[in-house]
Symmetry: C2
Subunit: 408 residues, 2 copies
């Protein structure tokens, strides 16, 4: 597997684009398209929120029932959530318009929205946007970047990524674009993650891979504990790499699984690190937990703790807050018999808690680690052999600022 300088339209046959449709913002790209020259099998996971945005309902139905998908139309600015019957009809009209212009079936068009909950989509501007996107969509590298920029809301950087691997002598590419911050606990501005590949793979196999991988990637990040109504993770495969079909139980399957996981983990970490207002990526690695479920619960609890996040923002080695977050996670353990470490890429690793009490670590060394861009917290539970990693970000003044006037 090799990382390439690419993105969501790097696999063969995927055309993308981004344009200014004036949905809510002016003078910025706010609509994107992904179009595949050939029909795709697709697999997806969506928000677990009881309140599901209209595009989530539409996409769920298409993914489950359509024989194939071939395009995705995404807008930012308005989430099309809390919009009732009219909101769902807007999805249908969006798909219908795209289908007509692109010459593909209405039920092969997925839609995605992110932004403020409540307002209805301006359908005239959406339809004009689709016409523009259909005209400019392309396999050019720049078109992929344009699409990844057009789906941003409060993101500070666009997030695209691509890898290549060889399967049965054929080069297979996996490309991704993502925005927002979270899946189980996303930022209100929603996580959207689109992964395209030219691999030959069945819908069943792709669905299995997606379901298994999301648990340790997008579901292990959090910015603020709020699960959006719009979260969407879609993988589309158009088979244009012409590799022998990827089937479970083979070395090819393992290679593809690893590559897809690497793409998803990379995008998930980027989403966490670019959480609203964030200065630092916080990574919590739980090792030697009794069960995999406990390991995930413990790691998630630490990166979700407002107090731990605020302490990292203050470069303050207030390890009691980590211990506390582990303690209220719901997982059982013995606080007298576990260890905590801080680790930074530049400043190495230090033991901060052992045998039920703090060690005599140096506050200066600890603060130096906590000043790095990526702060790793390691919790050795000494209960078993299971491991999990979760990613979050620090809690800053800017988080409050952004969210106190998000709508204005």
């Amino acid at each position: 597997m090799e990382i390439i300088n690419g993105g969501v339209n790097s696999p063969i046959g995927f055309e993308t684009g981004g344009t200014e449709a004036g949905i809510k913002y002016q003078n910025r790209k706010d609509m994107a398209i992904i179009y595949s020259q050939k029909p795709c099998v697709a697999a997806a996971t969506f928000t677990s929120n009881v309140v599901k945005a209209a595009p989530v309902k539409w996409d769920r139905e298409m993914i489950d029932n359509s024989p194939f998908v071939q395009a995705v139309i995404v807008n930012t600015g308005i989430a099309n959530a809390g919009t009732g019957v009219e909101g769902y009809e807007a999805c249908r009209q969006t798909a219908s318009e795209a289908a007509k212009i692109l010459g593909i079936p209405e039920n092969s068009v997925l839609v995605g929205s992110t932004g403020v909950i409540g307002p209805q989509l301006p359908l005239d501007r959406i339809k004009a946007g689709i016409a523009k996107l259909a005209g400019i969509k392309s396999t050019d590298r720049q078109s992929g970047t344009d699409a990844s920029r057009a789906i941003m809301t409060t993101d500070t950087v666009n997030k695209e990524f691509a890898v290549q691997l060889t399967i049965g002598g054929r080069t297979v590419t996996i490309g991704a674009m993502s925005k927002g911050s979270g899946m189980i606990h996303p930022n209100m501005c929603t996580m959207l993650s689109y992964v395209c590949t030219d691999a030959v793979i069945s819908k069943e196999t792709l669905t299995k891979l997606v379901k298994e991988d999301v648990v340790d990637t997008y579901n292990m990040i959090s910015v603020d504990g709020d699960t959006s109504t719009n979260d969407t993770f879609i993988v589309m495969a158009n088979g244009m790499a012409e590799n022998p079909e990827i089937c479970e139980g083979t070395a090819d399957y393992e290679a593809f699984r690893e590559a897809l996981h690497f793409v998803n983990e990379t995008q998930a970490k980027r989403l966490a690190g670019d959480g609203e207002g964030a200065n630092a990526l916080i990574e919590c690695v739980v090792v030697n937990a009794g069960t995999k479920a406990d390991a995930r619960t413990l790691a998630k609890s630490v990166i979700c703790s407002s107090l731990t996040k605020a302490a990292v923002f203050g470069h303050d080695a207030n390890w009691g807050r980590i211990l506390c977050a582990l303690g209220y996670s719901g997982a059982q353990f013995d606080p007298e018999h576990m260890e905590l470490f801080y680790e930074g890429k530049k400043n190495g690793r230090i033991l901060i808690y052992k045998d039920g009490a703090g060690t005599d670590y140096s506050e200066e060394e600890a603060s130096a680690i906590l000043s790095e861009d990526e702060v790793r917290i390691i919790a050795d539970m000494k209960m078993g052999t299971q491991t999990a990693t979760a990613w979050g970000c620090d809690l800053t003044f800017d988080y409050v600022k952004i969210n106190a006037d998000y709508r204005s």
Copy 2:
């Protein structure tokens, strides 16, 4: 029942005091005592955190096993959590010293600590503080206020409250002092709530009342979702009102239950409204839920949502965040068939969401409500008849500021 100008030492026979012991801070009271002239029956609830502070372990043991309790010694500045065997020994020595000076058994002394996790208590200063407290403790109103001030950490105001009622021709008083913000989701600086009464009541009856009432009072507040290692709620009854014993199934029992609930609810709301950095109390009332558990879950989810809290700080009627928080709470409901309201004491009530979409409410009116000191959010689930209320506060720049440098 009548509210009186009083506090934790208003019931007959309770002496209190607060003093400067220099535990961590200088020039402020940081140790408090509650002493009862007669032995008390006591009931308590403590943090559900797996990591329990040493004083929680000590108190749990005393409440469960001692025939009676007669005093509480509380310090702020250091939480005595994450302190291992040495920390528990510090509790024993604190109790032992107080017992010696007060002339009561060691196992009748409860201890409480709040502050930073990690450091060991300075026992010499604790012991000197006990000697001072024993010398100044008094039934004076000022002594109650002194005690309530001495247990503050990041609280901006002290919180004392008292009510009186008549039971069997005798006046019974219930007095309280509390600090911090939360029980299930408290601020790291810990919730401590001490309620004293001169009522004659058995330990069994008091324990039942405490267990039942905490669910709808202290357990329904949250500041930041972090459950402290030190949370403590203790009720002590010394029987000096000489009323006929309060027994279950009587009118006296109901009157006492209501009075105790009123004290607890009042203190709980004050804790939430004085959450770190808070400008406003947020009250979420869920009505017509299918089950009581769902009602509690839904109300808690709203007041815990960082995005809802930040929107209130910004006086922004971003109701989608409320809908979203209800949606990810874990309770099931039909988002197309429920209603949301904002309500303020000065600006009345407005309907903001109905039939799956926002109403055409006035943004100005909504913003006026959201600018009040107490903001009420009402969610009518239209599923059944169950109701619950939860209390939180807005998320402000000051919350981040306080917690980014809490230790310094």
